[in-house]
């Protein structure tokens, strides 16, 4: 995340670190002949991913869809609320305390309630992911919109710009880097929350696969689902990060 100071060397070392980790992992797992429930070897996990590729791919796509829909919903809610506060400052005293108190409950604690309300299909996961994402995006959007220099606002106002014009020409562009950072941070969270909710109840998805595998005491399969989940998170993170670089090109 922050290791961008010496791109080439840092990347090389990063890859080297990964390779070392895999080598040590494989060596320990094989050398000590660890049972699968302690630590299966990387090669065994990769083999299992290949064997279960259809199930895992379908489950991964299912979870990814849940995460993306919930993510978009949550991001929209967060940004819209922050914009509403900026346009109608009076609403700040209503929206901020409500948002803060909803957020004061750890997000996973909502999942039993959300599952009861929305059933164990996809909608409950949309809601959970949106809940987890919206607060982070709301906070960063609000911080970004508030960050605008008073003098710039006064200057635009003196030229006769209205609130909307100030919002679109000045506030949103100024806030964009922070909003984008909030969006980037939320990607991994979205996937994880989707999986956590799936484990409590679902028809499909990586969390469901993991839960089933735990019940069947198939720990190589648990690990292969973890690998796929990790890859999905990195993919989502990478996509949003790429979009951010394109969109916030001036940063």
């Amino acid at each position: 995340m922050s290791a961008r100071f010496h791109p080439s060397r840092a990347t090389q070392r990063g890859i080297l670190g990964m390779v070392l980790l895999v080598a040590v992992w494989e060596g320990v797992a094989r050398g000590f002949a660890l049972p699968a429930y302690t630590l299966p070897s990387v090669s065994a996990i990769l083999g299992s991913i290949w064997d279960h590729r259809q199930v895992l791919l379908a489950a991964g796509a299912y979870t990814f869809a849940e995460a993306v829909v919930g993510y978009v919903l949550g991001a929209l809610i967060g940004i819209v609320l922050a914009v509403v506060i900026t346009l109608v400052p009076m609403t700040r005293n209503a929206i901020v305390p409500v948002a803060t108190s909803i957020n004061s409950v750890p997000v996973v604690a909502w999942s039993p309630l959300i599952l009861l309300w929305f059933g164990i299909g996809m909608p409950s996961k949309f809601v959970m992911v949106a809940l987890a994402v919206s607060f982070t995006v709301f906070v960063s959007a609000l911080a970004g919109l508030d960050r605008v220099d008073r003098r710039s606002v006064d200057l635009m106002r003196s030229f006769g710009a209205g609130r909307l014009a100030i919002l679109f020409r000045l506030r949103l562009p100024t806030a964009l880097p922070l909003i984008a950072a909030g969006l980037r941070v939320s990607t991994v969270r979205a996937i994880i929350v989707a999986i956590v909710t799936e484990m409590l109840g679902a028809y499909d998805g990586l969390g469901w696969v993991i839960y089933q595998a735990v019940l069947q005491v198939d720990f190589v399969k648990v690990w292969s689902a973890i690998f796929v989940a990790s890859a999905a998170s990195l993919l989502f993170f990478g996509l949003v990060g790429f979009a951010e670089k394109r969109l916030v090109f001036w940063k």
């Binding site: 108190s101 004061s104 309630l113 309300w117 409590l200 990586l206 989940a229």
Partner: protein
Amino acid sequence: MSSTALQPPAIRPGASPSPFAPLAGVLLRGARGLAILLAVLVAAEGLIVLFGVKPWYVPRPSLVIGAILATPEPYVQGFLRTLTETLMGFVSGALFGIATGVVFFRAKVLKELIFPIFVVSQTIPVIAFGALVVLWFGNTLIAKAAISFYLTFFPVTVNTLLGLESVDPRQEALLRSFGAGRFQLLRRLQLPAALPQIFVALRLASALSLVGAIVGEWFGDTVGLGVLLLQGMYNENVVAIWAAIAMCALLGTGFYAVVAAAERALVFWGAEQ
């Protein structure tokens, strides 16, 4: 608290409302918070009765409080158990995070080798990790604390590193010219200078460690707030779920407040924004 609670995820030192809060001020704020909470609960009660909201969605606060008071034991025990797990995970995660932050700061090679692994480790869904941890450590306190630890350490590592890297090199040069060694430099200048950043992460980590403890209890424990949540769901008892949610909020907010108070006391010079 609202100004400290609303820190952006972007990592920077937070603005504490006051550099030094005397005890009277704390008490006053606490009393005001309590009064607001009471008012909100009464208002919620009234609105729910007025609009005839079904208890299935949002039960009246009096029902929820009544449920807790009717059988306080599991709630008190659950609260204490989850608090213990949270504290164990938080303390170990914070210490590990600060230690790795210092090590990465000192040895760039280690940072470049290991930091990417840390990043990737955070993409592992905690609950899947939980299944493994419970298998490794059994259904013990340690297992829950390990999950809580796993969620806690990463932000602390990142912010410790950022805080240490943002120390003014001229101050370092000055101290070094007085003959300060590496350890003294770290203790007298670099760690104190990084403290505001570290505390931003600790506030975030206080919430994350609670999440870890709750999720950890979902693997077949019998005591804890996470267990109460699950039991409420399986019995489709919405009042019980709300009661557990209220206890989680109490624990989370209380813990957050303690960490924030520690921040005000330790970072008394406040964050220079």
